[in-house]
Amino acid sequence: MDSTGFKVALGCIAIRLAVICLFPSLQQQLDQSVEFSTPVTSFRSLQEGLYLLRNNIQVYNHGVVHHPPILVFFLSLFTSGTSISLIYAFIDGLIAYQLTKMTKVFKNLRVKSWLPGLLYAVNPLVLLSCISRSSIIFTNFFISSSLYCLLTEGNVILSSVMISVSGYLSLYSILLLIPLLGMLKNWRQRMFSVVVSALSLSILLLLSYTMSGKSWSFLSQVYGSAISFEKVFPNLGLWWYFFIEMFDTFIPFFKAVFNIFIVAFIAPFTLRYHKQPFYAFILCIGWIALTKPYPSLGDAGFFFSFLPFFAPLFGYLRYPIISALLFLHAIVLAPIFYHLWVVLGSGNSNFFYAISLVYALAIASILVDLNWAMLRIEYDNGVPNFKLKVTQI
């Protein structure tokens, strides 16, 4: 039973280590690319935090570090670059393992159990994100752990703790608690889960408070900066261009709007798909990857890793080729247009923004198509009937 999971995890780790050994300079290059590193996840700023921490300087007073204190502390335990690479590779291996185990839970899935794990292992987006040492991998790990604990072991406590840790690491993933509640059986469990998450989150925050020298300054730096989009920095998301162009007076209002936009869709997804709560959960991951202020390709890669779980829906997808081509072109052209803009100067910011719109369109079209497919299979009562033509009115 376990051996496939282990093999996949080992393969995943091996691939990462091989790539790190073969291309030692890749980490820095990726860390400087806007697609894989954002101000809140980049390893550069994490390193800055490690340095400040080791020299007993206040980490959060300089506006550079946006990583939560416990993560900075955890990584400061490891001094050599090799051990940090090993940790990153190991965590990716764990995610691959968890994916493999989760596949086995879904009995009637006509997908071989090693496939999602293997796809995760070779998925270039996740792979490169891991190589770039983006801290998004920790968030992803705790999200997948949360699912893993709930699906394979039915462990509500652990699952709630995991989701609160992921929320602690990167703010918006705390929203996933809502679809997680949808996966629980009854209201008692739900209340319990909420309490457990709240407790563990507050413990984490208190711990961080004491760790950062009894100061709450980390709150504004880690979470405040994400909510208020402090660093208007080009990335693949929808936020940055919008806030470059805007008059100052409108900025707070639209920041609220953008934040509400993220939150607004989580509960409806959960409610609409209360019969397919796992599906709702993944949909929410995709939604957050699309709308968060500092998205990276690591987010999208993580979202795609869960798509093989919905293989029965693929037949219903209306325009998978278009979505796939859109996404492929977006990720190929994004670095090129960024290069044209920033390095060569023959392009301008509109180039990169245009391609980040294509990227958003690609993810959105995947989400919309998945929605359609799920509604359609619901209409067919779970028995696929591809011949039937249904149309939206």
Binding site: L325, L328, H329, F351
Partner: protein, 612 residues
């Protein structure tokens, strides 16, 4: 959305979908044809625009140019001295020139490169500016044809002397004397931005002078502007160069057009400049560089001015072009940003911007994407699951061919043996024919390989669209015949209805049922014919063979297999990545197609649920 929905429903109702799917190869070819046509109609009236100076601050030729007869004697004096320098060593030459430059207060330094020799440069500090920006006047000692650049060097030093007396400059002026316009100048530019001690701020623009005759008179000016890796200087710079040259009464030649054709301005002349422009743009750096290429990649706009012919205008007229250009650039308050960075010139004063010419290369990319789609759905194996072994194997083969291509690109950088490369390329084309009896792949795999190959090529060509349009167009059109390579099926499929969709050999097979005794020979003949056709197409679309043929036919600068050597040295000397576009962009696709053209056996597909 509703409209799209309606349209979609109408198309489905009319039963067009299967017809469109059957017609995909035709649509793909039509797309490519559209690509050709849309670029060929650009020289027609109404398609192009007249150039204009977009940045108002430039004001070319608005100030009177003073580099005239009074400077002629100075110039002649320097020239008679420089004429004796041809046989000196480069350090003697540079020391002499350096001492001249120092006479009128230029700070000079010599940059020594281990590989490419010495480069002398001098910085004249701007009397009016803060010294953070600079303009470069570059004079290679030997020009692109390896002729001693007597006139250019004399012009360079006398212009420097002339400039030094003026108080108007708000940008530093840097004079550079490099050994050649190729790697030596390039290495200086790189050193300027990385290691040199004496610098004069960020370089806004560079003008390279090439006047290789020792005569006083010349006939017309050739302006070169193509940068490396698809970069072009801002159109404003090219415009002021052209407008100043014409203002001074000289004729402008682009892309090596001879004097007698300069007056023409009709459809064919414009088409000629357009095609030459695309060729030179694609092969810039690979072709003998003029000097302006050296400045690519550092946000420097640069052009080369080259004097041609004998008699007509005097050398000071030529000197007035850089003078007036520097006066114009000196006026700039911002970097060049106003005008176009993406354009094609049809005549010195006529151009098309990116929105007009981009569709042609997009069409090629779309043509490949459609071919990929065709290989995916236009056969009996469309319903195979997304995660089937064929797809995975195809992806694996793609990955392997990518690695192989990368290794090939690196090996031939180290051991540039063109003969070997060509022999291997040609020999591998014959593999499907030679091994036709021994090696068979399954038919669905053949289609999946094509699917991956064309998708990859489409992505490569799309990614080149903006950054190197000419290269995208060039490889798109040269590689397009690949899409005509057909899968050859041998052996009868047990379930007939599965394999009767398309492709000649299969069609003959279904006809066999009627003429059983003739069947085998007909089939054999069709197969042989298709195999030979595939072989020819494979040879034609091999990246190395194809680019060599292209260079031999369309460019008289190349002889034999020259171009491959030049591609390699362009990377080593100038960091021009055309070699990698061929090796990593085109070659993997070709290898996949090669793999797919092995004889294939049809496979019976178990009826599965539809995977659209």
């Amino acid at each position: 959305m509703a409209l799209l929905e309606k349209l979609h429903r109408r198309i489905v109702d009319m039963g067009l979908v299967p017809r469109i799917i059957a017609l995909l190869p035709v649509i793909s070819t039509l797309c490519a044809l559209f690509g050709f046509i849309s670029i060929a109609i650009l020289p027609m009236d109404g398609q192009y625009r007249r150039t204009y100076i977009s940045e108002n601050a430039l004001m070319p030729s608005q100030a009177y140019s003073y580099f005239r007869e009074s400077e002629w004697n100075v110039l002649r004096g320097y020239r008679s001295q420089i004429e004796e320098m041809e046989n000196m060593t480069s350090s003697e030459r540079n020391n002499q020139m350096g001492s001249w430059l120092q006479e009128f207060g230029t700070k000079t330094a010599i940059y020594e490169s281990q590989q490419y020799g010495e480069t002398l440069y001098g910085v004249m500090h701007a009397p009016r500016g803060d010294g953070t920006e600079a303009m470069v006047l570059a004079i290679p000692w030997f020009n692109s044809d390896d002729e001693f650049n007597v006139g250019g060097a004399a012009l360079g030093v006398s212009l420097a002397r002339f400039f030094s007396r003026w108080p108007v400059w708000s940008k530093n002026i840097i004079v550079v004397f490099s050994e050649n316009p190729r790697a030596a100048l390039r290495s200086w530019v790189e050193a300027y931005h990385t290691s040199l001690d004496l610098t004069g701020g960020s370089i806004e623009a560079a003008v390279v002078l090439d006047y290789s005759s020792a005569e006083d008179f010349f006939e017309y000016v050739e302006i070169s502007y193509d940068g490396l890796n698809g970069e072009l200087p801002n159109l404003d710079l090219v415009n002021i160069a052209i407008s100043i040259t014409e203002h001074e009464g000289m004729k402008v030649s682009l892309h090596g057009l001879p004097y007698d054709q300069l007056a023409n301005n009709d459809f064919w002349s414009r088409l000629k400049i357009l095609s030459l422009g695309i060729r030179d743009w694609a092969l810039s750096g690979v072709k003998n560089p003029h000097g302006n290429e050296a400045f690519s990649g550092w946000r420097i706009q640069s052009v080369t001015l080259k004097a041609h012919g004998h008699g007509g205008h005097d050398i000071t007229t030529f000197g007035r072009i850089p003078e007036a250009m520097f006066r114009s650039i000196n006026n700039l308050l911002e970097k060049f940003h106003q005008s176009f960075f993406f354009y094609l010139l049809l005549a010195p004063r006529q151009f098309v911007s990116i929105s007009s010419y981009l569709p042609s290369a997009v069409a090629f990319s779309v043509a490949f994407a459609i071919s990929s789609l065709n290989a995916f759905i236009n056969n009996a194996y469309a319903s195979i699951s997304l995660f089937s072994e064929y797809n995975l194997v195809a992806l694996l083969v793609w990955f392997i061919s990518l690695v192989v291509s990368f290794i090939i690109s690196q090996i031939f950088l180290l051991v540039p043996s063109v003969g070997l490369l060509m022999t291997i390329s040609l020999a591998t084309c014959f593999l499907p024919l030679v091994l036709s009896e021994k090696v068979h792949i399954s038919e669905p795999l053949s289609y999946r390989l094509k699917n991956v190959a064309f998708l990859y090529f489409s992505l490569v060509s799309t990614s080149l669209l903006m950054i190197n349009f000419a290269m995208a167009l060039l490889i798109g059109s040269l590689a397009f015949p690949m899409t005509f390579i057909r899968t050859i099926v041998v052996g009868k499929s047990t379930e007939h209805e599965m394999g009767t969709k398309s492709h000649t050999s299969v069609k003959t097979e279904s006809r066999d049922d009627l003429f059983e005794h003739h069947g085998d020979t007909v089939l054999e003949k069709a197969k042989k014919r298709q195999q030979l056709k595939n072989l020819l197409l494979l040879v034609l679309t091999n990246p190395f063979i194809s680019i060599t043929l292209f260079a031999l036919v369309f460019d008289n600068e190349f002889h034999g297999f020259d171009i491959v050597n030049k591609l390699i040295s362009a990377w080593l000397d100038l960091k021009c990545w055309n070699w990698f576009v061929l090796c990593i962009g085109w070659l993997p696709c070709w290898l996949l197609i090669l793999a797919s053209s092995f004889e294939s056996r049809s496979v019976v597909v178990k009826s599965k649920e539809k995977q659209s």
